[in-house]
């Protein structure tokens, strides 16, 4: 029988994939893709808890919608920062963006 744990395991694996992208990718755009995967994993958890733990409330789905909105904000600002960094430093690789490193 399909239960809460099934969804939590899928979300944990998706979160780990996103984490792997964030810590190993050099290109800042692909790092943002990893962040999006991690946010999706959190959303699966929220909606699954809504169904299996508190079906009377709608807080899980409402929170998932807010996370989607904030993910859109994060993508817009993050990609604007990538473009600005590329314009001034002529690179998108995060290990080459180190002018503030002492």
């Amino acid at each position: 029988v399909l239960g809460l744990t099934h969804y939590l395991v899928v979300a944990a694996l998706l979160f780990a994939l996103g984490l792997f992208a964030v810590v190993t990718r050099r290109n800042s755009v692909t790092i943002l893709m990893g962040v999006e995967l991690m946010l999706n994993a959190a959303n699966i958890n929220l909606v699954a808890f809504n169904k299996y733990a508190a079906p009377q409330a709608m807080q899980g789905q409402v929170f998932a919608l807010i996370v989607i909105t904030l993910a859109a904000c994060e993508a817009a600002v993050g990609l604007a920062l990538v473009l600005a960094a590329y314009r001034t430093l002529e690179t998108v690789y995060v290990d080459e963006i180190n002018i503030m490193k002492w």
């Binding site: 944990a12 792997f20 709608m58 789905q61």
Partner: protein, 166 residues
């Protein structure tokens, strides 16, 4: 084995396989394109969880807007497909160990926890867009207003940061 279980495993496989392509592909255009099936697999999971409205928003914003935005960012920066340069830093093994430990920890905690059973008897409400809207404008009104301010500020911030200075 019920049909729901089969569909769940199919959607989970689609999501995780596309996610693996996103994090490992050395062609970043392929990685961005693989985001679409990953997001659509998550959409299917939302539908299995009776969250049809969240699923619709997921298709519009993630599979539609955010993927296109990421493709634009790839095309506006150096390298195009990124096949010319190294895409992974020298911490690949350490990163894999950290990610595997994180997944193992989360799965162990999820498996060991005794989740409270859902309240029996009462039928859950149908999660219609109308009901979600009522929830937003009644008990979640503060979060709703706060989110709209964050949207406005991030819109202005994105324009300001990406603007060419001259």
């Amino acid at each position: 084995v019920s049909g729901e279980t089969v569909i769940f495993y199919l959607l989970a496989a689609i999501t995780l396989a596309s996610g693996a392509v996103v994090v490992t592909s050395s062609n970043i255009v392929h990685a961005a394109a693989a985001l679409v099936p990953a997001f659509l697999g998550v959409t299917g999971l939302y539908i299995l969880l009776n969250a049809e409205f969240v699923a619709g928003i997921q298709v519009l914003i993630y599979a539609g807007a955010i993927t296109v935005l990421i493709l634009f960012a790839i095309m506006l920066t150096e390298g195009g497909t990124g096949l010319g340069g190294r895409q992974r830093n020298e911490q690949a093994w350490a990163g894999a160990v950290v990610a595997a430990c994180m997944a193992g920890l989360l799965i162990a905690v999820a498996g060991r926890s005794a989740w409270a059973p859902p309240p029996a008897g009462a039928t859950p409400p149908s999660y219609t867009p109308g009901a979600i809207g009522q929830s937003f404008l009644r008990q979640n009104i503060l979060v709703f207003e706060g989110t709209s301010i964050v949207l406005l500020v991030s819109l202005m911030g994105a324009i300001l940061i990406a603007r060419r200075e001259d």
